[in-house]
Amino acid sequence: MELKDLIQIEIPKLALFVPELIVLITGFVLFSLDLIYKRLSHTLAISVSVIGYTLALLYLVFNFDLRGETFYGLYVRDSFSSLLQVFMILLTIILLAFTLQYQRFKRSLYGEFYYLLSFSLLGGMVLASSYNLLLIYIALEAVSVSFYILTALQRGDFTSKEGAFKYLILGGLAIALASYGAVFLYIYAGSFDLRHVLHFNAPDKSFLILGLVFFLFGLAIKIGVVPFHFWLPDAYQGAPTPITAYMSSVGKIAFFAPVLRVMPLVQESFHNTWVLVVGTLAVITFLYGNFVALVQKDVKRMLAYSSIAHSGYILAGVSVANAIGLKAVIYFLLAYSIMGMLGFLVLAVLERSGNWENKLEDFDGLKHSQGFMAWVFAIALLSLLGIPPTVGFLIKALIFMSLAYGKLWWVGILMIVGVGVSTGYYLRLVVLMFMKERERRAIANPTGFERASMVLMAVSLLILGILPMLLWNYISPTSEMLFRR
């Protein structure tokens, strides 16, 4: 590389960056509103957020074919980033339908909520569209710091504070590990760009392996991979339930995005190490998640463990570093973000009923007192379990396919064990809701918006399962594009 290439001055192509800019501006508007008004009108804040996000979403959808790099290659817009961003923004908009009622009920209505949501969304969007370790680091911090505060938002609640504190400490460790890994990778290749790093071919690969291990372990903590998961159940349980839903969907997409960008770049020379390390982590994760979920009495915590287990399934797909694996994983990630979110959002509505503690007993005979919620929850649970024709089945089939492709039979067989164990706890809830009879006090009614969003999500779980080509036609070229990098 010559000197004139290095000092070339690039005019930023802001067109690529517009959605992020819109979200950023929305965040600052919300921030200022919170500063100006002593008692922030929540309808105003929600309207501003929804308008901002919708604008960003519309821009993305109408410019879906936008491609290019800007900021000296720091920022990459490709179909992968657009796809992930569309999902993140959509899910955030849906989330906003649920927050007001919940927080009013829990007396945790604060203005911070809205702009922290914007900033974490922004961080997630940037995470989905960068190969650069430095930018990834900054975006990780943006998402994480927002998440710490959002988790602790229920100020009067001890579990909320405890969860946030655990999250903060382990999250800090994660950031430290990731940045340490980034440094090793820089030593190895003299660049922060993952594409250069992984294509760089030095005879001694020890720094590369070391750097990748540290970097990925940092991300693994954020994702909640066993044995780095200790913060996750506490944070998920302590956080206000809509925030849990947000962390398990948008958060998961965001933290997995860099992993998915690394995955196609895995080279022949350390492919076997990759398969072994990631495969082992995957197996430990889904086995542990499922077995521990089985003994939970608290449904929210149970879903948190199920979220860990699903990270394990995704990692199983990641361990097969090939195009089919990547397609399977992207489909899985996007589909899971809907199922996981729906599960937690149902809890968010139900928690508004008096005396509701998310215990298993609370679900007895829910079908009779609140049939709508029971059906929606059942669809989410059956999808999490992987019963056709829901999308949950299709994504498990795709993961199995990628495992067969990589001849990872041991992961496949152990995954059968994991899914088999998960039958126990998903099914138990379905049984409680539909097959137990119980006289009940009043159960909270969802509002119109909530009802509509839940129907939308439940239907999309079915549609994505029955007509997979709707999403597949976007995912397939995307993953092939990533492999050409």
């Binding site: 056709p388 089939a397 067969a404 492709y405 067989i413 059968i416 126990g424 597949w472």
Partner: protein
């Protein structure tokens, strides 16, 4: 494999009709639910019988009524429906028995709450079953295969008897976990097709071209076999069955025993033998002996039951032993026996479960001893039970006769000892039916203590007749049914021979 395109979309139309029925049931009032279910499943039955006129029996090995819509081009994933003789027979069995089950439910005292859901689940189960027997895309087959699980789970869990929750769990967990192996197997052979031909495909016809080494074939065979062995079930895997069948409401047991078990044997025949003929030959001795062991053990279990329903449930396991043993004999008689027995058992087990349900409606107990002698006041019921019992026993002229007789003939082609073993199994199965009939007819109580019951009539009589008449048909005119699958058997045996061309170990 040749495909004959459809002149009229009988099969997709059946599925769509049933789904439409579900929509109507959900939308309309509860009191209409049963009639909607009856009309729609009746319409599908009529549709399947009308389609008989268009089925070309001279080329029954070909897939007829074939239709296909691509879902994902890249994975060659498509919704493709069609039926060769074997599928077609199962399709008719499905529509017939589902109609019978709904007919029975209309006057069943057990079904007195949540009617909308009940009939919706039954229609869903019927549509999924039609899908299972007529899908030619492996992943879609799997989808339908799993989908049959959900309605039955709810039917057992909500309308079942005392231990319903436990049984529903057990049923779901056993079948679901075992079928995950099937899923791994299905995607593995699709990927294997990619390795060999450079294209992913889930189409059954494409996958038939795959070649496997014996070791890898064995591994894949086992992945498939685990799922179907639990579903069928074969003896050590049968423990879910008595609970599920014993606790389900009558109509649920009817569908479970008559059709759901056939999914396992149908799939063994369709997939395990067709896709891995070499492995099937390799494992033949083990599987035949396993089948015979299933017959004998299950017969012993049956005799020791005092609960009529569990009695019938265990007898199903023993019949499935005949199906499995006959199938893996891999000769013409054995395969004929196997398919005949599949159809015959569909009818007899349906009838036997209705009998048990009828007894329960009268006595509120499943204890066989309680009904002793009372049967003399119910002549129609007595006749129906006698025909069913003798058919199930394998009396010449009864429907199960052909299954048992031809299995023995098939076994004799190998060695006489094997035939004698099958004969021993047949002997025990005679024993338990005789025991049942003896308790019902011959153990007479004192005159004064007999209870008068009303006889079978109305919808229940229709339900009984709809299975008893075909039962006699199978027994007396078996060649009508051979026409469905003889061509298929020839094709299958040719394929098995061809695959052995290079020797077993290549």
């Amino acid at each position: 494999m040749e495909l004959v395109p459809a002149v009229f979309p009988f099969i997709p139309l059946s599925i769509v009709l049933l789904l439409l029925g579900i929509v109507l049931i959900v939308l309309l009032e509860e009191k209409f639910a049963k009639w909607i279910a009856l009309v729609f499943s009746g319409a599908v039955l009529v549709l399947s019988l009308v389609s008989l006129l268009y089925f070309d029996f001279s080329q029954a090995q070909k897939v007829q009524f074939y239709q296909s819509i691509t879902l994902i081009e890249e994975l060659r994933l498509s919704l493709s429906f069609g039926a060769d003789g074997l599928s077609y027979l199962m399709y008719i069995l499905t529509t017939l028995v589902s109609f019978v089950a709904i007919c029975w439910s209309i006057r069943d005292h057990q079904i007195n709450h949540r009617l909308k859901e009940y009939y919706a689940w039954f229609l869903l189960s019927e549509s999924a079953l039609v899908g299972v027997f007529t899908s030619w895309d492996m992943l879609v087959f799997y989808v339908f295969y799993e989908l049959t699980l959900v309605p039955m789970f709810f039917v057992i869990g909500i309308w079942g008897y005392k231990l319903r929750l436990y049984s529903a769990y057990k049923f779901f967990v056993y079948i679901f976990v075992s079928s995950l192996f099937l899923l791994l197997g299905v995607v593995s052979i699709a990927v294997e097709h990619y390795r060999q031909f450079g294209k992913l495909s889930f189409s059954y016809f494409d996958l038939l071209q795959n070649q496997y080494s014996l070791a890898f074939g064995l591994f894949l065979f086992l992945l498939f076999f685990i799922a179907f062995a639990v579903k069928t079930p074969i003896v050590p895997f049968h423990t879910w069955l008595p609970d599920a069948h014993g606790e389900a409401p009558t109509a649920g047991s009817v569908v479970l025993a008559a059709i759901l078990l056939k999914m396992g044997t149908y799939a063994l025949l369709r997939f395990n033998i067709r896709l891995f003929p070499k492995v099937a030959v390799f494992l033949m001795p083990v599987l035949v002996l396993w089948g015979i062991a299933t017959i004998i053990f299950a017969s012993w279990f049956t005799i020791s039951q005092s609960n009529v329903k569990r009695f019938v449930a265990y007898s199903s396991v023993s019949h499935m032993g005949f199906v499995v043993a006959g199938m893996f004999l891999l000769n013409k008689e054995g395969l004929r026996a196997s398919i005949m027995e599949m159809f015959a058992h569909g009818l007899t087990s349906a009838s036997l479960f209705m009998m048990a349900g009828f007894i329960y409606n009268r006595l509120h107990s499943f204890n066989m001893q309680a009904l002793r002698g009372s049967i003399r006041f119910m002549p129609v019921f007595a006749v129906l039970t006698a025909i069913t019992g003798f058919s199930s026993m394998g009396l010449p002229g009864g429907s199960s006769f052909w299954g048992k007789f031809l299995t023995i003939m098939g076994a004799k082609e190998y060695t006489l000892r094997l035939a004698l073993l099958v004969l021993a199994g047949a002997f025990f199965s005679v024993l338990y039916v005789l025991y049942l009939l003896k308790t019902l007819y011959l153990d007479v109580k004192e005159e004064g203590r007999l209870v008068h019951f009303t006889d079978v009539r109305g919808f229940k009589l229709v339900a009984f007749l709809l299975v008893v008449v075909p039962m006699l048909l199978v027994g007396l005119l078996p060649f009508l049914f051979f026409a469905f699958f003889d061509a298929h058997i020839d094709l299958l045996l040719r394929m098995v021979l061809k695959s052995l061309g290079g020797g077993l170990w290549n």
